[in-house]
């Protein structure tokens, strides 16, 4: 079984007498009401999905991640996992050495943050170093603009797991996916991250992966995404329909990846890979413009960033894919790596073309999208 990042799967869920003590203490503590991204981060830290993090980053880790894409201890890490004081709260209310209660937006206590570090951050600096832009139109930069300018860092004691309203039958913690892989006898596991419906091109990538590993985990991101991304409910229907008809059941698993999208392109690709390693995954697929948005990143920047680290430092095998398509000349799915055909011999559609077809109730060609998937998307558009 692949080792978690840092060697140990973190568990920050407290139980028994310590939990009782913290529950008694919480009402007397200053509190922070978490946003959707922060809630998901707490829940992932709780169960080791972001090992070796034991809480929100301290200034030392934050500065190190921004400066050299590593935690202060040297382990690769590319995206700050941080907690911001809300813009309408006074940063003076929180002090280093103090405990702070972290609550959901409906007042449920999730965790106690043991504040070890408090600092004023520079939004522009963070955006440029992590997202490679400070353009306000970038959704990640837009998110930063909603925050206060003070971060709190420290370890977490999680007293209540986050209660999700949806997909509870698809939510597996790292210890559960690891157990699943062990029980299935899978020694090599590929994970596919996506925030979109899967059409033939991405299906092809997962099938290529499946040819060389024991099992495939479809691990769609179901945390917060942009409002114009395909809704999670629709995507889940697509994934279930695709797996039911086109994949071998005994060699695939579908589970939710609860993290919020950062739209950080290359930086986020590394985060996605590291977290999948914590889930027990050995191979991670990175295609064209992974976790990208708009024109902010080069098509293969999210693959190149891994070259900044020495072999083995990330610890997960990367499966890098180029743009794939149905090739008319070879009569099958292919990529520029495997087909000599020119663009005129490829069945490729832009996102806009696909959306227009679906909106008009027209099925895209079967070489582009499985009809079951296209029908789900057409129905979803009609229901809007």
């Amino acid at each position: 079984m692949i080792a978690p990042h840092g060697g140990r799967l973190i568990n920050r869920v407290v139980e028994g007498a310590e939990r009782d003590r913290l529950l008694g203490l919480a009402p007397k503590l200053p509190k922070v009401v978490l946003n959707a991204r922060e809630m998901a981060d707490v829940d992932m830290i709780a169960v080791g999905a972001m090992s070796p993090l034991e809480g929100f980053m301290t200034k030392a880790d934050y500065d190190s991640v921004l400066a050299r894409r590593r935690l202060a201890g040297g382990l690769p890490w590319t995206i700050p996992i941080v907690l911001a004081v809300k813009p309408d709260a006074s940063a003076e209310s929180y002090k280093e050495g103090q405990d702070v209660a972290l609550e959901t937006q409906d007042g449920q206590l999730l965790a106690i943050l043991h504040v070890a570090s408090k600092w004023k951050m520079d939004k522009g600096d963070e955006a440029r170093k992590v997202l490679r832009t400070d353009d306000a139109a970038h959704p990640g930069v837009g998110y930063l603009a909603t925050l206060g300018d003070t971060y709190l860092g420290g370890t977490l004691s999680v007293v209540n797991r986050l209660k999700y309203e949806k997909y509870n039958n698809r939510r597996l913690d790292p210890v559960e996916t690891r157990t699943l892989f062990k029980q299935k006898g899978w020694k090599t596991i590929a994970a596919f991250q996506t925030r979109n419906p899967i059409h033939r091109a991405h299906e092809y990538l997962t099938k290529v992966a499946l040819e060389i590993v024991d099992g495939l985990m479809l691990h769609p991101l179901m945390g917060e995404t942009k409002s114009d991304d395909v809704p999670a409910d629709v995507r889940m229907k697509c994934y279930e329909a695709l797996l039911a008809s086109y994949y071998p059941k005994e060699r695939t698993a579908l589970a939710v990846y609860p993290q919020a999208m950062r739209y950080g392109g290359p930086s986020e690709a590394v985060l996605h890979a590291i977290c999948r390693k914590n889930f027990g995954v050995t191979h991670f697929l990175v295609g064209r413009d992974h976790a990208g948005v708009g024109k902010y990143y080069g098509s293969y920047d999210a693959q190149k960033i891994f070259d900044e680290y020495a072999p083995g430092e990330i610890g997960i095998n990367l499966l890098k894919f180029e743009n794939s398509f149905w090739c008319k000349r070879t009569g099958g799915m292919a990529s520029t790596k495997s087909s000599p055909a020119g663009p005129e011999e490829r069945v490729e559609l832009s996102g806009t073309q696909v959306r227009d077809m679906l909106r008009a109730g027209t099925l895209p060609p079967p070489e582009f999208s499985r009809p079951e998937i296209a029908k789900i998307l057409i129905d979803a558009m009609k229901a809007k």
Binding site: G48, N169, R170, P174, K182, Q183
Partner: protein, 85 residues
């Protein structure tokens, strides 16, 4: 001819309507999914109360030092209940 892996079970229509109401916004995509989930959960509970399985003795997953054999059994049971195993 392909071997049919699923069978039809009839339930009273009022009960079906109640299930439809219960699963609204629950993440279950159909009453069938919900009913399969509940049945697996109930049957899993019954199995847990039965004789201990032989495999219970040891099966190291080694995610961390705090993970006990009891925890492992609970995880396996959850995976079975959810249909992963």
């Amino acid at each position: 001819m392909l071997h049919e892996t699923k069978v039809t079970v009839k339930i009273p229509r009022p009960l079906y309507r109640k299930v439809q109401l219960v699963i609204e916004k629950s993440g279950f995509s159909s009453p069938t999914d919900f009913i399969v989930f509940v049945l697996r959960d109930l049957l899993g509970e019954a199995e847990r109360k039965g004789p201990a399985p032989a495999e219970k003795a040891a099966d190291t997953i080694e995610p961390n030092e705090d993970f006990s054999a009891t925890d492992l059994e609970a995880v396996k049971q959850k995976l079975k209940n959810l249909g992963y195993l």
